[in-house]
Amino acid sequence: MTETVLSIRDLTLALPKGADRAFAVEHVSYDVSEGEILCVVGESGSGKSMAANAVMGLLPKGVHATGGEIWFGGQNLLTLDERAHRSLRGLRIGMIFQEPMTALNPLMRVGAQIAEVFEAHGRHTPKERQARALALLEEVGIPQPERAIRAYPFQLSGGQRQRVMIAMALALEPELLIADEPTTALDVTTQAQILKLIRDLQQRRGMAVMFITHDFGVVAEVATRVCVMREGEIVELGEAREVLDHPRHDYTRALIDAIPNDAVPNRHHAAEAQPLLEVRHLDKVFRSRGGMLKPSREVHALDDISFTLSRGETLGIVGESGSGKSTLGRCVVRLERPDSGQLLLDGVDFTTLKGETLRRGRRRVQMIFQDPYASLNPRTRVGLAIAQGPIANGVPRDQALAKADELLELVGLGGVADRFPHEFSGGQRQRIGIARALALEPELIVADEAVSALDVSIQAQILELLERLQQTFSLSLLFITHDLRVAAQICDRLIVMQHGRIVEHGTAEAIFRTPRAAYTRELLEAIPGRDAVLASA
């Protein structure tokens, strides 16, 4: 019989006045036992992280517990004072955060940061601390641990930094590890490695792990048990296989269904003889200016990229961070100037346009941005934001605003033209961004990670909207994403990029069924929950 490590009983956390609901979590109860991984799943705003924060005693200002108990090691954590709580953190409860970029001190060597964990709890002599740090780095599988221990965080990749974070969390052999979205900021292949590492370490040490995530794919990959949360309440709690295969609650089912799966829709547009966009031998090199002592660095963002895109076709560009996929998109819309090569739009070279001709030519190629929060001017009413393009192109103001109303209606947001962006949710803002891109009646839309920042259920809605609009207006779509599952859902053809080069090029179906390049296979295998989803499909 395994022992219960953490027991949350009837926990209620109140939000400050003026928040969108009264309680962050309401009457939440769950246990985490020795040797199991409990996944707490939910969309943004579900309160999934709040209980974990309460366990660590790190609740944000204004949020406080109004009821319930958190039992850990025979103590109720909610009644503990700050001192006693601090001695538990790190020593008996470890935590891994989402952002490996910001969770490490940029000015401290990795070894010193791990040693600091021992120091904080008064363990070992300085020399032993270094030796332990080295052993930990070895355990979390960092290549060349002797060198990594002397490295600064900026010298490590995102995945390596996350390994360092895990090493720090494990330093004092805690009984409970809390992982808050630890792989969300990572590439798929790195994510797969980190998930495997957490699973291995958990089994080797028999820890209890509380794993917070929004991704059911990740759940399928690591979870022993699952706790599904929505709006501060537990919707479903049970064994992972049970919940994944036979979800009892509608919400859980909706979440699982919303995950793009491998069933590639067989969509094949007859490629027209005359392509809308023809890209020929595009090159782009980023140079960092060298200083007196350091040599200048060159990064080949795009290396001899060629492809064509027909009218009404959706071409997906898939790659991990640093593959050059975003640079490619930015070159196509001319936010970035390629060093050499041609972009032919209906046979006209788009790369050589300048000044006023470029300003007018931009109409034909529009873009949907990744971050729905950053892509709208916070001080411009959304109606005007959409109308600005046509106004800049000489359409009378009244007419442009009326058109904006129509477009908002079209993307499912009628009668909201005089509101400001902050009054909308992420998904709604992305709809506004789409309406803005459509306002100039473009022929080609570049969508740069257009759904990556959204919750899965919203993601599915936006993809559906894009597809509908594409058919209505017979748009061509260049869909840039890091997520093969999303790409498979919407794209006719796919291009897989790595290090600025095209690795593979083919129909979505061909790439999924019979990937030729090793890298593509690696990407496909890294998709979390792939085996599990396939098994249940």
Partner: protein, 278 residues
């Protein structure tokens, strides 16, 4: 929460607004309460405060009414403070905007120009400028504006540098908006809050600069100002303390009020920061 509700949460800022309102009322009422010129000698010199009806703050070395001087001086101080700040903004904002937006050589050129002004001590430059142009309200306003615009340019440039690569700015460029429209419609409105805060503090500095110039005898000889009053009374500070005390308190309160208002504006315009601080 509305802007005013947030502003009113800061009690210091409210006090600042009240003090400022009193001083503005003083400046506005001066011509009605003391229609005569404040330079006129009306009683025997060195009359202490509250000694005689109609001279609540006494008279100065020449028998002029200190209360009248204080109220007329309020008008001059406020006028110089606000006008010179506006002029400084008119120089600094466009310069910083252009430097930050275009970057590269234009930025380098404009910033070297700004640094040229920053390397000369503010006050020394102001003295030289006033001395060359002859002391008058106009020359003082210009001198103060010319020495105080560089921080504005630097602030606006920094804001533009961080905002020009925002996605909404790129989106505006993509739909074909021109550079001028992007600067004025997309970026500038988003830099307003720090500019407003800085401006409120600049008014305070300008009032201090004007007082210092007048103290040295470089004020406009035709208008009564607080700085002149302190300057004229410095030789008799031990015999007649009230001559420098009251204008000094007036300067102190005005500058304090402006700083409080500036801080209140900062809190109200950056709700995120305000919440963390409380």
């Amino acid at each position: 929460m509305s802007f005013f509700a947030r502003f009113a949460q800061n009690r210091g800022a409210l006090i600042g607004v009240i003090i400022l309102a009193v001083i503005i009322a003083m400046a506005a009422l001066a011509p009605f309460l003391y229609p005569e010129s404040p330079w006129r000698m009306v009683q025997r010199p060195f009359l202490p405060p509250l000694e005689m009806d109609g001279f609540p703050l006494g008279t100065d070395t020449m028998g002029r009414n200190v209360a009248a001087g204080l109220m007329h001086g309020a008008w001059v101080s406020l006028l110089i403070g606000f006008v010179s700040t506006s002029v400084a903004l008119l120089i600094g904002v466009p310069l910083g905007a252009v430097a930050g937006y275009y970057g590269g050589l234009i930025d380098d050129g404009l910033m070297r120009f700004t640094e040229f002004f920053q390397t000369i001590p503010n006050f020394a430059l102001a003295i030289v400028l006033v001395a060359i142009m002859q002391p008058s309200v106009t020359s003082i306003v210009l001198a103060i504006a010319l020495v105080s615009w560089p921080p504005v340019a630097r602030l606006v440039r920094a804001e533009f540098l961080s905002l020009r690569h925002r996605e909404y700015v790129e989106a505006a460029r993509l739909v074909g908006q021109g550079n001028a429209t992007i600067i004025l419609r997309q970026i500038l409105p988003n830099t307003l809050s720090p500019i407003i805060v800085l401006a409120s503090l600049m008014v305070a500095t300008a009032i201090l600069l004007e007082s210092a110039l007048s103290f040295l005898g470089l004020g406009d000889p035709n208008v009564m100002s607080w700085g002149y009053m302190i300057g004229a009374a410095r030789t008799v500070i031990r015999q007649a303390w009230w001559l420098s005390f009251f204008p000094g308190v007036a300067i102190l309160l005005t500058v304090l009020a402006l700083n409080l208002v500036g801080e209140g504006l900062d809190d109200a315009l950056n709700p995120k920061l305000a919440r963390e601080r409380s």
